[in-house]
């Protein structure tokens, strides 16, 4: 199942740092995601967009990582939003009661338009 390994790709769109996440996020790798996001926010990014379109599935460890990053962003008065929470990933957000815990945009384009 090599295709399910966690991938984290950073890119920039104007003032927004876009973090595209792919594969599976579970308790074996969620820490990597948390560290990457915390480092970005600590380095002074003030708008971080996490694109979850490539995620196959995630567990509560991923929610923890995202919540920690969100809190970090709030401390830094940075914006932290998610986009493309789709299909099974969306169902898991729903089951965890976490759809309301984040600002979630339907697509990357929409998120960038709102952040820009």
């Amino acid at each position: 199942v090599a295709g399910s390994a966690l991938r984290i790709d950073e890119s920039r769109s104007g003032k927004v740092c876009v973090v595209a996440v792919g594969g599976r996020i579970d308790s074996t790798n969620a820490e990597q995601l948390m560290v990457r996001l915390k480092n970005l926010l600590a380095s002074g990014e003030n708008a971080v967009l996490v694109d979850l379109s490539g995620v196959i599935y995630l567990t509560s460890a991923a929610f923890r990582a995202l919540l920690v990053a969100k809190n970090e962003a709030e401390r830094n008065t940075a914006r932290f939003v998610l986009c493309s929470v789709l299909g099974q990933v969306r169902e898991l957000f729903e089951m965890g009661g976490l759809l309301d815990a984040f600002t979630i945009h339907a697509s990357r384009e929409e998120a960038l338009a709102r952040l820009g």
Partner: protein
């Protein structure tokens, strides 16, 4: 009572998060052998990660090296996973629904994970026996692989 056809597949791992990879690969193989549909496999993977990571993090407060085991079995209609550990008694069914406290500040382990798990399986039960916690998770599936074996 569901009839389970094959001898169960059993995995024993150490209480380290990295060991979950062994279970993930094992569950994938098990599901492939039983022709379980992709979405059901994913849901079982989430459940296994939630339950086992919770045990690894909280079952042995004093740390140290321990083992836990997962027994997987399949009937024509359902997949069953029984997770056994000899840590402190903990019944996940009594865990509360998640509140709005950030997870890193929650005292009670496993709120969100257990809440998700309950929704992903058709049955979850807990018992303590001979100093061990047993969590039995049952999920129905379309067992076309099993039926062709019977014919």
């Amino acid at each position: 009572v569901a009839q389970y056809y094959d001898p169960p597949t059993c995995f024993t791992i150490r209480n380290e998060i990295a060991e979950l990879a062994t279970l993930r690969v094992g569950l994938n193989r098990f599901c492939t052998a039983h022709a379980v549909a992709g979405k059901t496999v994913t849901q079982l993977q989430v459940v296994l990660d939630e339950i086992v990571s919770n045990i690894i993090k909280y079952a042995w407060p004093d740390g140290g090296k321990h083992e836990l085991s997962v027994r997987m079995s399949a009937s024509a209609k359902s997949i069953q996973m029984e997770v056994v550990d000899d840590g402190q008694a903990f019944d996940p069914l009594t865990a509360r629904a998640p509140d709005h406290t950030p997870p890193e500040r929650r005292r009670r382990p496993g709120g969100v994970g257990i809440h998700i798990t309950k929704q992903l399986v058709d049955d979850i039960s807990y018992f303590r026996d001979h100093g061990c916690n047993h969590i039995v998770l049952t999920k129905r599936y379309d067992g076309s692989g099993i039926q062709s074996q019977e014919n």
